[in-house]
């Protein structure tokens, strides 16, 4: 009973990680880089939504998050124009964007934590009380992953994305707008990060110091089962939520905090993650 309760709570908590992990996975498969600013997009969305309020606030929050990712996409384009094709430089630049966004939020809204209430009633599931917000988080994550899966696997756009991911030059020769797809991926990352931020706003709350740790949680979830597919990010996020909940429920503080990192090290040490890109990615 207690065990299944921890599992259930872990799954619900993990859905936030899923939304942070999916942008990592998408960006890694199309641009082969990492966006450190995903957590910052989440913070920006939550801060703007909390201060504007209501449905308009939600729209404004998502808009602000996408605007943040647009800035990152612009920097990415500029770097490419200036002749930089180093994926690590893109990642470091996104670190600068993340720092700048978090600082802007601190300046504008101060140190307050952003948190809002959604549901005051709870559902009982076989004796376990859960919040409808948690269910909403899970459904949102599932819907987002499903939409992405359908787009990537079934649509013309998805075929172009996959082609651009595998072979940039070949795709360009075939008339695929590779750059547009890459910019689009950054923007989708901003949108998903923004959604994650809004869900955190209504679930637990966050403040100006959250972005980097949110990004790192997203990373961990994204690579646990392999980074190349949003569906794996789904299971990665949920597994991380469950692992954390079980650790918090049964172990000491030290083990709880180590769980995601040990998990990550073990997975990296035993899986074939990155093997395919070893030769090509050395810049």
């Amino acid at each position: 009973m207690t065990f299944s309760e921890f599992i259930l709570r872990g799954v619900l908590a993990g859905s936030i990680y899923v939304l942070l992990a999916v942008p990592m996975s998408l960006l890694f498969s199309t641009v082969r880089t990492i966006d450190f600013a995903v957590g910052a997009y989440a913070l920006v969305a939550a801060a703007v939504a909390a201060s504007v309020g209501g449905v308009l606030g939600i729209a404004a929050g998502l808009g602000a998050a996408v605007a943040g990712s647009a800035a990152m996409a612009l920097i990415f384009l500029l770097l490419k124009r200036f002749g930089c094709h180093n994926h690590i430089i893109y990642a470091l630049a996104s670190f600068g964007v993340a720092t700048a966004l978090a600082s802007a939020v601190l300046w504008q809204y101060g140190t307050q934590s952003f948190v809002r209430d959604s549901f005051s009633q709870f559902w009982s599931l076989a004796g376990i009380r859960i919040s409808p917000q948690g269910v909403l988080n899970l459904v949102t994550a599932l819907v987002a992953v499903t939409i992405l899966y359908v787009v990537i696997q079934r649509s013309q756009l998805g075929r172009m994305m996959r082609a651009a991911a595998v072979n940039v030059m070949g795709s360009e020769l075939a008339g695929i707008p590779v750059e547009l797809i890459q910019v689009g991926t950054y923007l989708v990352g901003g949108l998903l990060g923004g959604i994650a931020g809004l869900l955190i706003l209504f679930t637990a709350g966050l403040d100006y110091s959250a972005p980097l740790s949110l990004t790192l949680s997203g990373f961990a979830a994204a690579i646990v089962f392999g980074i190349d597919n949003p569906f794996r990010a789904l299971f990665g996020g949920l597994a991380m939520g469950v692992a954390e909940a079980l650790a918090a429920g049964y172990t000491s503080g030290m083990v709880t905090s180590m769980v995601p990192f040990l998990f990550l090290l073990i997975v990296l040490g035993t899986s074939r993650f990155g093997d395919a890109t070893v030769a090509g990615d050395r810049t």
């Binding site: 890694f28 082969r32 880089t33 990492i34 920097i75 500029l78 770097l79 200036f82 002749g83 930089c84 180093n86 994926h87 690590i88 430089i89 990642a91 470091l92 630049a93 670190f95 600068g96 964007v97 993340a98 720092t99 700048a100 966004l101 978090a102 600082s103 802007a104 601190l106 300046w107 790192l216 990373f219 961990a220 690579i223 503080g253 030290m254 905090s257 180590m258 995601p260 990192f261 040990l262 990550l264 090290l265 990296l268 040490g269 993650f273 990155g274 093997d275 890109t277 070893v278 030769a279 990615d281 050395r282 810049t283």
Partner: protein, 327 residues
Amino acid sequence: MTFWANHRNTLIAIAAVLIAAPFVASRPVWLDSAVILGVYALLALSVGISYGQAGILTMSQGAFASVGAYAAALCSARWGWPPFTDLVLAMLLPAVLAYGVGRVVTRLSPLATALATLALGSVISIYIRHADDLTGGYVGFAGIPAIGFIDTPLEYAVLAWLLVIAVVYGYENLMRSAHGRALNVLQQDQARARADGIDVARSMSAAFALSAAIAGIAGWLYAHYVSVLSPESLDTNISVTALLMAVVGGAGYVLGPIIGTVLFDTLTRLLPAAELQGLFYGLALVVILLVARTGLMGLGEQLIGAARSGLGRRAAPAAGLPARAAS
């Protein structure tokens, strides 16, 4: 003449330190900065070896430094080891850790190594925070003694930059050894390195272990100078800062990380202290990356290359380039 050609970077580093010394020694506040800057320069150099040479994008140098720092603290404050003997442990411990992890991460792409080393750094720092009896836990470790006769900021500054010069000298010798050439090959093309008979995993792990040992020196120096340690003293932020310093200066160049350190530190000190500092910091980082993608050393090389092709054949051998970038 051969020594000059082979140890250009060391000589430039010595010259730069000698030129800066009288100015720094005249202001107490600069002396303190010089020590901390030396610690950062050692950390950035360790990134240079790990990332610039072996291709391991490391985010655990802060954690390695903290292992070295806590080793120094325990040896000197608790177990009463004589001065400088604790340096051995402060280098050995991080090196062993790094070698073990290196065997795992060397198969990975640089971004994946970043994640793996980040995870390693987090595990180390969580351990430090929880090992109350050994490290003082969250509250930390106070009362770390000075290094024997070295006590004043001036003496520490001298020691710090002697260490930096020694590391640069060793780095330069390494890069001309068979091992260094092997690193260069496998960084370009691992398949070819394997075909050449290079044990890729061992080679990269050894470089990573060396870089961790240098980070350990930085931690050792830090612990004795500041005399107090806590889990936040040398945390992930320091790892990221060291990485940025190395990349901004030019991770592939021997002196690049040092130049990055000086520039970065000056920059953060000039920025206004307030809520908006992060914004300026972030923007500055983006601008630097836009302007100098291969680091300032790379930019300098390009500029000088352009100037030379404009001037025809007048220029001397490449010796002048890092000199200008270093000054």
